[in-house]
């Protein structure tokens, strides 16, 4: 084996995956010699750049290149996973033998193993995840400065800033296994976030908020000015927030908080939580779990999607799965292992961090929009809460019990009357999903999980 040669190849990785594909083949061959009956390997590398600007000046510049290799071996039905950032031949040889030793130390797990060879592959369309644009340092600093400056100019009450940050990164993932699968793809990311601070005249009370955008392609990023202005609008509108009296009211979740609710649903349908009996949606496949206004898809093939990828963490082709259709739970999110535990095939949702065995993750997980505008939804509430932020970890995935810190606006007679904070909202996710009364028309993909505005008919709001 000649790993030294391959190491050199990796430095010119932009030219192709040849270096890593060969490195992977060598490691897999060595694993076999050490007693592995099956194995897979993932290699990731990339470059990142980040600039933070605060009050008009550069606060921090960060630049880095990274690479990492993850190996999973099976010795019969026993398995172990390892990873390293050291690609020297001596280090990799040691890693392979240690991984096989580790695998022999754990017990047999009857359902463990790679996917069947026949399941692998499929088409690998170009999902438009990579942008060759390389931005100069000055350009990126300028983006961050313009974003922050737009926030300061937007309103005189923006008096300070946690800063603005522009990030760009690009990288490659190569996955190969002992069935002969080899796949790779490149992706890039460009993002700007702006976090201004607004101060209330008189009291001096401060409020912070932020706005951001992430895209695979630089050209798709909204203007720095629009992001900064939106950040300022969000910070300023929180000024003068107060608590409210404890009462049961309708709660309208804005896009961001509705997205967090959808993320809770996403966790609840993950195969790992289900087979461990640690999900509130246990044994609910085919049952009504949400209001009939709710349809949820997970689509790994959306062109340009932030969660898109041509194949999953085990090499299975990604696809579009219907998770909830008119309130009925139609599919879990599964990889090979959790699928076998539940007696179901993988849904192509294996998520793989280098160095960990696969788990399950969403691709582009979204709730299908309805027809009402957010204003119409707010207009339907006589008295209630328009929720713009939830904080804390008060969610019990086993029972669905939900209790989180909240802030937003109090709705009176269909209008946003005043900002509110230092309150909690509480309920149970099982009931909350069924109590979704209205679905907005405002679906926007700002991350892997996206939801339009949602109205829940009633929740407990606790304040003073």
């Amino acid at each position: 084996m000649d790993i030294v040669r391959k190491e050199r190849a990796e430095h010119s990785i932009a030219a192709g995956n040849g270096g890593y594909a060969q490195l992977a083949a060598d490691v897999l061959a060595h694993a076999k010699q050490c007693g592995a009956t099956e194995a897979d390997i993932v290699v990731a590398d990339g470059e990142t750049f980040s600039v933070q600007v605060r009050v008009g000046a550069v606060d921090r510049l960060t630049k880095a290149r990274e690479k990492r290799l993850g190996l999973r071996v099976f010795v019969g039905k026993r398995s172990a996973t390892t990873s390293t950032s050291d690609f020297s031949k001596a280090s990799l040889d040691r890693l392979v033998s240690e991984t096989c030793t580790l695998a022999k130390a754990v017990v047999e797990d009857p359902v463990s193993g790679l996917p069947e060879a026949a399941q692998l592959g499929g088409d690998r369309p170009d999902l438009d995840l990579y942008d060759e644009t390389v931005l100069g340092t000055e350009t990126q600093i300028d983006w961050a400065k313009r974003g922050e400056s737009a926030a300061f100019s937007a309103d005189s009450r923006i008096t300070n800033s946690e800063g603005a940050e522009f990030d760009s990164s690009s990288g490659r993932v190569v996955l190969a296994n002992s069935h002969g699968f080899v796949g790779s793809y490149q992706s890039s990311s460009f993002s700007l976030s702006v976090s201004p601070i607004a101060t209330e005249t008189g009291t001096g009370a401060m409020q912070r908020d932020a706005w951001y955008e992430v895209q695979h392609k630089f050209a798709r990023l909204a203007s720095a000015e629009s992001i900064g202005q939106e950040a300022a609008r969000r910070a300023v509108r929180r000024l003068g927030a107060r608590r409210v009296a404890t009462k049961r009211v309708p709660v309208v979740f804005d896009q961001e908080t509705a997205g967090s609710l959808l993320a809770n649903l996403c966790s609840a349908v993950s195969g790992y939580g289900l087979y461990k009996r640690a999900s509130f949606l246990l044994d609910q496949l085919g049952q009504t779990v949400a209001s009939d206004r709710i349809t949820v898809y997970d689509d790994g093939r959306m062109v340009g999607g932030l969660g898109s990828r041509p194949f999953d963490g085990e090499g299975l082709a990604t696809r579009k799965n219907t998770i909830v259709e008119r309130g009925v739970l139609t599919s879990y999110l599964l990889d090979t292992y959790s699928g076998k535990k539940l007696g179901l095939p993988s849904t192509g949702n294996a998520s793989r961090s280098v160095g960990e065995s696969p788990s399950v993750g969403p691709t582009n997980f979204y709730l299908v929009p309805g027809v009402k505008t957010p204003a119409e939804i707010i207009g339907s509430v006589k008295e209630g809460l328009y929720l713009t932020e939830v904080i804390g970890f008060g969610i019990n995935m086993v029972t669905g019990d939900y209790s989180r810190g909240a802030c937003g606006f109090w709705i009176e007679n269909g209008e946003l009357a005043s900002p509110v904070e230092e309150i909690t909202i509480a309920g149970n996710l099982k009931q909350m999903l069924k109590d979704i009364e209205l679905v907005g028309n405002d679906l926007v993909f700002r991350g892997r999980i996206a939801s339009p505005t949602l109205k829940i008919s009633e929740m407990m709001v606790a304040g003073n």
């Binding site: 430095h11 605060r54 550069v58 606060d59 921090r60 510049l61 960060t62 630049k63 880095a64 990274e66 026993r78 398995s79 172990a80 996973t81 390892t82 990873s83 390293t84 950032s85 050291d86 580790l102 695998a103 130390a105 754990v106 017990v107 797990d109 300070n160 946690e162 601070i197 009370a205 401060m206 409020q207 912070r208 929180r238 404890t246 009462k247 461990k276 009996r277 640690a278 246990l282 160095g355 065995s357 804390g392 970890f393 008060g394 086993v398 029972t399 209790s403 989180r404 810190g405 802030c407 904070e421 230092e422 909690t424 909202i425 509480a426 149970n428 407990m460 606790a462 304040g463 003073n464």
Partner: protein, 492 residues
């Protein structure tokens, strides 16, 4: 400029690193280290450092009665930083190739525009940490996997023995063995070996379709023997099982503002969220914290004295030195209710002209240094814990928590109870379902009316997140009474 003259000094110092911190651990040569520092030699840089890190993490985990997963991860690299005024240039690499070092130097150089006169740079001297707060035997840090497997199997059996309603037990044992070396432009070259381990157990209880979860764990900068000592691992298993079984009979939590009694130990997460983050120097230098300009002012009742202490032996949040090579210390944050000080790293201490407290921490060589907490706790008071509970007519007694979060700028914080009870007429009665508590940081401690004599530190499970960086921390608390805080239950 001084860097030329320091060249031989650096390499000499590197040769004299502590025995257990071999330069070779970091995969670099003396020449490369020299070269890196040399490249940081730009005119306006006030401070620069190199942080070498090598880390081996191992884990074994069990579920459904089977120890079926084992993992190991190896990483090494270097973080290169230069600061000029408020500006930081930072680069990191898992390799020390010429190209990587050039990127590092260019990034550092970028932040230093304006020219400045030459100045003397101290010659780095090798220093060992003056103490060893976690003297675990190196060999024991490397316990064979079969022994870990046996430990997890015993935990499974113990939890199921506790009650037949325990239907699944998930346990994981994680260890980390980190070797670091810091070379700085203010003359420090120091290395440390930082072991860390944690045992975490989660039980699912099931009865007539009612499923509940309970969890418990512990650890610290301790070796494997810690968990077998007095069968600590079995205590953890029973605690996790007990919490799950208890929650089977939990009633809905109340909603609204009411008196809350916090038990000692892990509920100290209140301090971490309510005041700890708000007292990190970076937020205060930028005046973005709700605590900005409150030094010397009253922010708590006079029964509250709160410290951050990185020097407690074997504790999860403890360090011989922080990640800038500064020895950790004990910093009084609040003394009898008065705000006394912030916790600092070098950058913020210098810019604010305040004391360096040894709280400059980073998740890894891939992250920048930030002021972070170590072990944060309230000192014991004089009240009897039973009297504290007896003083409440109607309220909540919270014993264990999940996580918490804070908005630094407006001071609002939350933390979520995982084991709590109603207090009715001075007596602890029914267990209630988990609920989030929400309050205002600069205000909440003024409502602490009683502090128990029973200070307890947590068991060593805390991980703090800030700017996307996770670091291990500890908290501690005696039993305390908060006269009023909002409880986010469902029952009005």
């Amino acid at each position: 400029m001084g860097y030329t003259s320091r060249r031989p000094a650096i390499s000499e110092a590197l040769r004299r690193m502590p025995d257990h911190v071999q330069l070779a651990t970091f995969g670099i040569t003396e020449l490369e280290a020299q070269h890196a520092l040399d490249r940081l030699n730009v005119r306006d840089v006030e401070y620069a450092d190199l942080y070498f890190e090598s880390r081996v993490s191992e884990s074994v985990s069990m579920e459904e009665g089977l120890v079926k997963r084992a993992a190991k991860s190896i990483s090494q690299g270097v973080g290169v930083r230069a600061t000029a005024g408020e500006k930081t240039g930072f680069a990191y690499s898992d390799e020390l190739t010429k190209k990587d070092l050039e990127i590092a130097a260019d990034t550092a150089r970028y932040i230093a525009h304006s020219p400045k006169g030459d100045r003397a740079v101290p010659v780095p001297a090798q220093r060992r940490p003056t103490r060893d707060l976690y003297p675990i035997e190196r060999a024991k840090a490397d316990v064979a996997t079969p022994e870990r497997v046996a430990l997890l199997n015993e935990i499974d059996a113990e939890a199921r023995r506790y009650d037949p309603r325990i239907k699944n037990v998930m346990a994981s044992f994680n260890t980390e063995y980190k070797v670091v070396a810091v070379a700085t432009s203010d003359g420090i070259l120091v290395g440390d070996v930082q072991p860390l381990s944690r045992l975490q157990i989660t039980c699912i209880a099931e009865e007539n379709g009612n499923r509940q979860v309970g969890s418990f764990g512990g650890g610290g900068r301790v070796g494997f023997e810690f968990y077998r000592d007095q069968n600590r691992h079995l205590d953890y298993a029973r605690e996790a099982a007990r919490e799950a079984i208890l929650n089977l009979s939990a009633v809905d939590a109340p909603a609204g503002a009411m008196p809350v009694v916090l038990a000692g130990g892990w509920p100290g997460i209140l301090l971490h969220e309510a005041i700890g983050h708000g007292l990190e120097a970076d937020f205060n230098r930028k005046k973005t914290s709700a605590f900005s300009s409150l030094i010397g002012k009253r922010v708590a009742s006079d029964v509250c004295t709160i410290v951050d202490d990185g020097t407690l032996p074997f504790r999860r949040g403890s360090l011989n030195m922080d990640d800038e090579g500064t020895p950790t210390g004990r910093t009084t944050l609040i003394e009898k209710g008065i705000l006394r000080g912030y916790i600092t790293d070098k950058l913020n201490a210098r810019l604010m002209g305040i004391a360096l407290t040894g709280n400059g921490r980073r998740e890894s060589y891939q992250s920048v240094v930030l002021p972070r907490m170590t072990n944060t706790f309230m000192l014991a008071g004089e009240s009897d814990p039973h009297d504290i509970i007896r003083s409440v007519k109607k309220g909540l007694y919270a014993v264990s928590f999940g996580g918490g979060q804070v908005d630094i700028t407006n001071g609002k914080f939350v933390f979520s109870a995982s084991e709590a009870y109603l207090i009715e007429d001075g007596k602890v009665t029914k267990p209630v379902k988990g609920a989030t508590l929400i309050g205002n940081g600069p205000e909440i401690l003024t409502k602490v009316s009683m502090v128990g004599h029973d200070l307890k530190l947590d068991n060593g499970i805390g991980t703090c997140g800030k700017d996307g960086q996770s670091v291990p921390v500890g908290v501690g608390l005696p039993t305390i009474k908060i006269d009023e805080i909002t409880v986010g239950g469902t029952q009005g």
